[in-house]
Symmetry: C2
Subunit: 454 residues, 2 copies
């Protein structure tokens, strides 16, 4: 970058700018596969709303792209640097501004870590419900920008359902407030929902009012081992047919159990070809667990007899299971979702695809929401040939999810990596409307260009 | 209207057009106060998506405003006719297209009545959760277009939380599909949420995929009589502090009890100055009801000892309580919402305002969501003077709700009537963004002009 520009940047947000190579490198990517590596020209760690406004005014004056970034735990390349960009890190804006127990709301800066908000509100008998498996790492700002899901979203809804109001800095530095502080509000269009999931392409989220939920009175956890994966998927439908809503309903296939065994010395795989983890909560938790246990046992599952410490540990392992190996081009974790009833045929189709394309596959799923994370991989030593088969398997798995009435991304976002699939799901007219909205909010196209939309 | 135009309209949607004065009159307004009476030039009752597309192509060619209309149960004038408009009634597009019990979804045309969808899915142990008190009358299309709330939204969320995907005819007749059929999906911006609550100003909703919930295993209903209204509002906070989430939490003041007594021969008012109706549901319903009963009794409320038929009847009356008298300029029902903890001071402020401005007041509230429906009125015989005091009271009640961190409309929408308050809540920048979105979707401004946004 032009030295004058950089000097101006340093003068508008003094003390916040870093251009050390190490820093540029560290902030150049998130956890998603990297298609076109690029370094930012600078990293700005904002501490205040004014910092963000000053930075965006500067970026607007000079047409510099800005890539917002929370913890960088994203897996779609949404926070990957692009050519000539400045990465705006929100991680230092990490104050919990207010917790109002009687309103059951909290106001936070974007850099607050999900798990830390949960720790803070737990003292009041409250929780912030959306809990991505990255909750000890990812930020509320990043969660909102991706409309993150999580384990207990089966019952409590995804991030959008917990977002009441947002403070957003627009591309030109203007600060706006959207949404409403009471639980309900319908004045004008729902701009808070529009911002939620917009992956840093419409504005920078600098303040968030969230709705909190009650910490459950009781929790019961079941671990149900099934013969194979399709049978376990049938278990998901059986719970639905019993008309019981679990808080958590996670599905792990045999390869995932093997990976857990390898990492933790457990013997899960020996006990079954797939595992369904179910948590019920609230005053009805025990009764609900009984109904679910009966339904799954009838399907042939082996289920723990009562609330067990082991089952809770397994949920805990699941919360971290994605961390066992980071994705790269040879190993890609996906995020399709299908209507619930299609889980059974879809997992069968996935297994067939892995065979056909001779790629490795393991799957975990937020099964209550029909949201699957298949991870496909090939051995790095296979080089280009392996990569080709991997890409074919990935493409087919996405096409198949769409044929089943699904979506290319249930919770991780389009980012950079899923761009090639977007037009498979959305019509030209819809893509055009999205570009139109983008142009309205960001006429110069400086906010995270090349991400989220087509 | 120009005879040629009308003839062309009749030829593009043959058999659907009516210009009979009686029909024009009947379709000229909803249940909201009428500020500037106008008759439509024609009413089109569409039967198919193609009808809607043809109509909009015709409207685009000739720049004719289109006012979409479901059942006309709206109370903000959102479906009021405006000068030179054609009213597009969706009431004949009333097929339930599909119910998929294992997906827990249904696909409906916009004219399906809320209560009829609920009857149809109940056979499968399912419910469509958002239940405005108009549920036996209003349409799902209208519910989506207003993002309607309802009684059990306290637990299950408002309409937006049950909308998965929408088919929408845009201003130029293009048909688009937005949203996702699985429970989760984050591809691109959340256009389904943007359409939800857009009051017919961004497109015509012609198909709706909704998420269904489980019919509760059990329901317990409590009727808690309090000395006065502020005490009952404290009861709402007490339930929150007990960290129990009721499905329904409705608050009725003394004047509302009097109105119910008058209409139904009951003696509610004698039993207290305000009533809190609480319903818990699910496997924990009985235990939850016990906790709530204890909390309210401690506050001095008189609560039925166990699940009682009377309490259920009262919920039923409440579901219909708004119908006792239709609003007009002399009697206006409002729809503010405040953060939950502000309920107590806000209801006290409301009572003081009514006294100060010498206007009549009664209030019901979806109290679990902080959403209040104060109705202010003056005697018609007071003429202009009475009207002036009424307007002052209305304005003050809205300003006060905003001062308490609230919104001008929790669920009814801005429509035509609440236009004057919109800029009190939203900044110029936010109003401008909304106009920009409007222009993007509807460059000619033919979709329900003068409604919803500033
Ligand atoms: C082990 C592991 C488990 C995971 N589990 C889940 C899961 O269960 N559910 C799930 O949904 N995701 C999951 N993820 C993905 C990821 O954690 C989420 O997408 C998370 O919401 C990202 O938050 P972040 O703070 O890391 O954001 P980042 O990765 O830094 O950014 C994500 C996107 O948001 C934008 N952004 C970030 N902050 C802002 C802001 N303040 N304003 C505007 N735009 C902003 C970025 O530009 C980028 O496009 C997982 C990831 C890992 C590594
Ligand atoms: C007795 C009574 C009780 C009520 N209780 C509640 C309550 O508890 N909660 C609540 O939220 N509301 C309530 N309302 C208000 C009203 O019923 C709701 O706003 C309802 O959602 C309107 O539905 P409708 O089919 O009557 O729509 P209409 O009144 O016909 O239209 C409402 C708005 O939506 C637009 N619209 C309608 N259909 C479409 C479509 N297919 N595509 C695009 N735009 C469309 C119209 O242009 C208009 O702006 C109540 C009303 C009454 C009279």
């Amino acid at each position: 970058m032009d030295g004058m520009l950089l000097a101006e940047l340093q003068s508008v947000v003094p003390g916040r700018v870093s251009t050390a190579t190490e820093t540029l490198d560290r902030y150049s990517r998130d956890q998603g596969p990297l298609l076109s590596p690029a370094l930012p020209v600078a990293v700005v760690r904002a501490r205040t709303v004014e910092d963000v406004q000053e930075l965006l005014r500067w970026a607007t004056r000079h047409g510099v792209p800005i890539v917002s970034r929370g913890a960088g735990s994203g897996v779609s390349g949404g926070a990957h640097a692009t050519d000539g960009c400045v990465v705006l890190s929100l991680e230092d804006m990490n104050r919990i501004v207010a917790i109002t127990p009687d309103d059951e709301t909290a106001v936070v800066e974007p850099g607050v870590i999900n798990g830390e908000l949960n720790d803070a509100v737990a003292e009041h008998g409250l929780m912030y419900a959306p809990d991505p498996a990255s909750y000890r790492w990812s930020t509320i700002g990043g969660n909102v920008a991706t409309n993150a899901g999580g384990l207990r979203c089966a019952k409590y809804g995804v991030t959008r359902e917990s977002v009441l109001a947002l403070d957003v800095v627009l591309a030109d530095g203007t600060l706006v407030s959207v949404g409403h502080r009471p639980f309900k509000g319908v004045a004008g269009y729902d701009l808070a929902a529009l911002m939620t999931g917009s992956e840093g392409t419409l504005g920078v989220i600098v303040g968030i009012t969230v709705r909190l939920r009650y910490l459950p009175h009781a929790v019961h956890t079941l671990a149900a081992f099934f013969e194979d994966f399709p049978k376990a998927a049938e278990g998901v439908l059986a719970i639905g047919r019993a008309r019981v809503q679990p808080a958590i309903l996670e599905l792990l296939d045999g390869r995932t159990l093997e990976a857990l065994d390898g990492a933790h010395g457990s013997e899960l795989r020996r006990r079954g070809g797939a595992l369904l983890l179910v948590q019920t909560d609230g005053y009805g938790a025990a009764a609900e667990a009984d109904v679910i246990r009966a339904a799954l046992t009838e399907l042939g599952a082996v289920v723990n007899q009562e609330d067990s410490a082991e089952a809770e540990q397994l949920v805990d392992l699941r919360r971290h299971s994605r961390g066992d190996s980071v994705d790269d081009l040879y190993r890609v974790g996906e995020d399709v979702a299908v209507p619930k009833s299609r889980l059974v045929p879809y997992v069968a189709a996935l297994e067939a695809m892995a065979q056909k394309h001779r790629v490795q596959l393991k799957v975990v799923a937020h099964a209550g929401d029909g949201n699957l994370h298949p991870t496909f991989w090939v051995d790095r030593s296979e080089g280009a040939q392996g990569l080709e088969r991997l890409e074919e398997a990935l493409d087919e798995s996405v096409r198949s999810a769409l044929e089943f009435g699904g979506t290319i991304t249930g919770e991780h976002g389009v980012g950079q990596y899923k761009q090639r699939w977007l037009a498979w799901e959305q019509s030209t007219e819809v893509l055009d409307l999205q570009s139109g909205i983008k142009r309205l909010f960001d006429p110069l196209g400086i906010l995270n260009p090349g991400k989220a939309i087509g």
